[in-house]
């Protein structure tokens, strides 16, 4: 493939990085400006120059969303046990152990009760740092238990999604978590519960095709990749280039698939006022 020659480094557009490289300074992948890391971090992990939303893990998200110190972590007694003895180039067990060591977490979701601007909520946050936030038996079970807990207590349910989809290493069992969580949301809906789904970069596959798209209200962070099939798969299938901005939050807003595109700094306010509107 021939490419136009790049004459200087300013013309180079770096690829979107999942994790921010270490260092005091870093280059924003969106505007290519050098930014001071501390400044970016204190700005809710958004670029101070262009407001690019960096990807964040679940612990940071919980910290940002909830009132200080209000989070009570729940269902921490469930552990993944490699039910299929799955081995690809490396055993699933080893991959899991490595993720656990790297992140210090057991699984890819944080669940618990807390307060958003004084309003009690049940919150689940998928953790991109852990196995790309993929849906395993444990993740599905924790979310289902959270929904059931919220149903019993009539708590507003907030799920922040960020996920590569189903976890292949748990195959059919992972697939069934889609039906399980969706069924739990049906009962929550029957009971009159309010469910706010927050879509962040990226939300794809089996997570999008289950609880993520079932919110009574669906919010999305700006410029997030949100879709069912990955852009690469679509490109291969239709053998065409994809339109600019395809599968972004703004694209979904235009398509009528999400209610609001909300910048990170507004999320707490938006969730709080939705809870008020729903009289919860």
């Amino acid at each position: 493939m021939s490419r136009a020659p790049v004459r200087s480094w300013t013309e180079l557009k770096p690829a979107r990085a999942t994790r921010v490289p270490e260092g005091l300074w870093l280059r924003c992948p969106a505007c290519a400006q050098m930014i001071y890391r501390k400044q970016m971090e204190s700005n809710l992990h958004c670029c101070p120059e262009c407001d690019h939303h960096f990807r964040i893990g679940a612990v940071e998200r919980v910290r940002q969303l909830l009132d200080d110190g209000s989070f009570v972590s729940m269902f921490t007694n469930l552990f993944t046990n490699d039910p299929l003895k799955f081995v690809d180039s490396r055993p699933y067990k080893d991959r899991l152990a490595k993720e656990q060591e790297r992140t210090g977490e057991d699984e890819g979701v944080q669940c618990g009760e807390g307060f958003i601007k004084g309003r009690a909520v049940m919150l689940c946050v998928l953790d991109l740092n852990f196995f790309m936030g993929t849906l395993s038996s444990v993740v599905g079970e924790k979310i289902t238990r959270s929904i059931e807990y919220a149903t019993e207590r009539d708590l507003p349910m907030v799920i922040v999604s960020a996920s590569g989809g189903a976890r292949m290493q748990e195959s059919g069992l992972s697939l069934m978590q889609m039906a399980k969580t969706a069924a739990a949301l049906a009962r929550f809906d029957d009971a009159g519960g309010l469910y706010i789904s927050v879509l962040t970069d990226p939300t794809t596959g089996g997570v999008t095709a289950s609880f993520a798209m079932l919110g009574d209200v669906i919010l999305a962070e700006p410029r997030a990749l949100i879709g069912f099939a990955g852009p690469r798969v679509i490109k291969q299938t239709i053998r065409q280039d994809l339109p600019e901005g395809f599968q972004t939050s703004e694209f979904l807003l235009d398509a009528g698939m999400v209610d609001r595109v909300v910048p990170r700094r507004e999320l707490r306010n938006e969730i709080a006022r939705l809870i008020d509107f729903a009289n919860k």
């Binding site: 046990n81 038996s137 069912f228 099939a229």
Partner: protein, 329 residues
């Protein structure tokens, strides 16, 4: 007897089939030992077939499930269903031929039938996107299923899809939302639902019409979170024969493995050598199982079905639960 299309592992059958055929025409092949006649050859053929099909690898199973001659939803509907009355359209966007819906009678039971359809000839296959439904297909299925619930008709679904269609229009019109809504709504329909994976059960596209009270698979069908090729391309970095084999094995996608994991409730026997060798027999097994299940489910109060269905899916998933540390207080 001879099929136009043969799978690799079926190749040893070819010579026997050719010999039997020429004997039937009244010619005697030169390479045939004098003591053998048509009946001994047929016996040999059956034995070989049994041997080949009892030792299928998971990847072989996937290929049987994709056999071009394998009966599809429309074939089964015409074989087991009387008085089929097809219903079209999602009333929103357009008719999606990749999912068939309609009223019909199975035995004496009136029901709604929903099934993925791949298409037979090239034109039909293209119209059906090889069984990959668009959001409008899933929405049509739900609309008709809600109709069935309204009239207290049980629902029978046939799953046969490589996956939901990945395309620009499909994403724009909410492929993920359409499937998600089906999962949620099927879980609370107050009417019996039975689902059978008759060929391919590819991921969310399959599950989108398979949230049922009873789920079965035909013996040589597959059901998994991703196709072996898709999995190989991601985890093994390349989809080739060797990696597809390994991925098919690792994904536990066969009927037997899905049964072991509790994902399905029953395996429906196929005729020797796969459904494509005797579609009528396969349809007969299918019909018997459906009637048996519907007879049982009819005795349950429809209002209590969603709670039972919830329990069924609620219990799926495998993990370790340790006791929570006791409170200090």
């Amino acid at each position: 007897m001879a099929l136009v299309y043969t799978l690799d592992f079926e190749k040893p059958l070819n010579r026997l089939e050719a010999q039997i055929e020429s004997l039937e025409r009244g010619e005697r092949p030169d390479d045939l030992p004098p003591e053998k006649d048509a009946s001994t050859l047929r016996k040999e053929h059956t034995q070989l077939l049994r041997r080949l099909y009892s030792g299928l690898t998971p990847w072989d199973t996937v290929r049987v499930a994709r056999h071009p001659k394998r009966p599809q939803s429309r074939d089964y509907i015409s074989m087991i269903c009387k008085d089929f009355c097809e219903l079209h359209g999602d009333r929103r966007f357009r008719e999606d031929p990749a999912i068939i819906t309609g009223f019909g009678r199975i035995g004496s039971i009136k029901c709604l039938i929903v099934g993925h359809h791949k298409g037979r000839d090239t034109q039909e296959k293209l119209a059906c996107h090889f069984g990959c439904a668009h959001p409008e297909g899933y929405r049509k299925a739900l609309l008709k299923m809600q109709l069935a619930a309204k009239f207290r008709l049980p629902i029978v679904t046939f799953v046969d899809t490589p996956g939901a269609y990945p395309g620009i229009g499909a994403e724009q019109r909410g492929q993920a939302e359409a499937i998600a809504v089906n999962l949620r709504e099927m879980s609370r329909l107050k009417t019996p639902i039975v689902s059978i994976v008759i060929g391919e059960g590819g991921s969310g596209g399959a599950l989108g019409i398979a949230v049922a009270d009873r789920v079965a698979m035909l013996e040589h069908a597959w059901y998994s979170v991703i196709s072996p090729e898709g999995c190989a391309a991601i985890l093994w970095k390349e989809a080739n024969e060797k990696n597809n084999n390994a991925a098919a094995e690792a994904l536990h996608l066969t009927a037997r493995e899905n049964k072991r994991l509790g994902i399905i409730d029953a395996i429906i026997k196929e005729p020797l050598g796969g459904a494509h060798r005797d579609p009528l027999k396969s349809a007969d097994n299918l019909r018997k199982w459906i009637i048996e299940q519907l007879d049982e489910l009819r005795r349950i109060k429809p209002e209590t079905l969603p709670a039972r269905r919830y329990e069924r899916f609620r219990n799926l998933g495998k993990f370790t639960e340790r006791p929570l540390p006791a409170d200090d207080a």
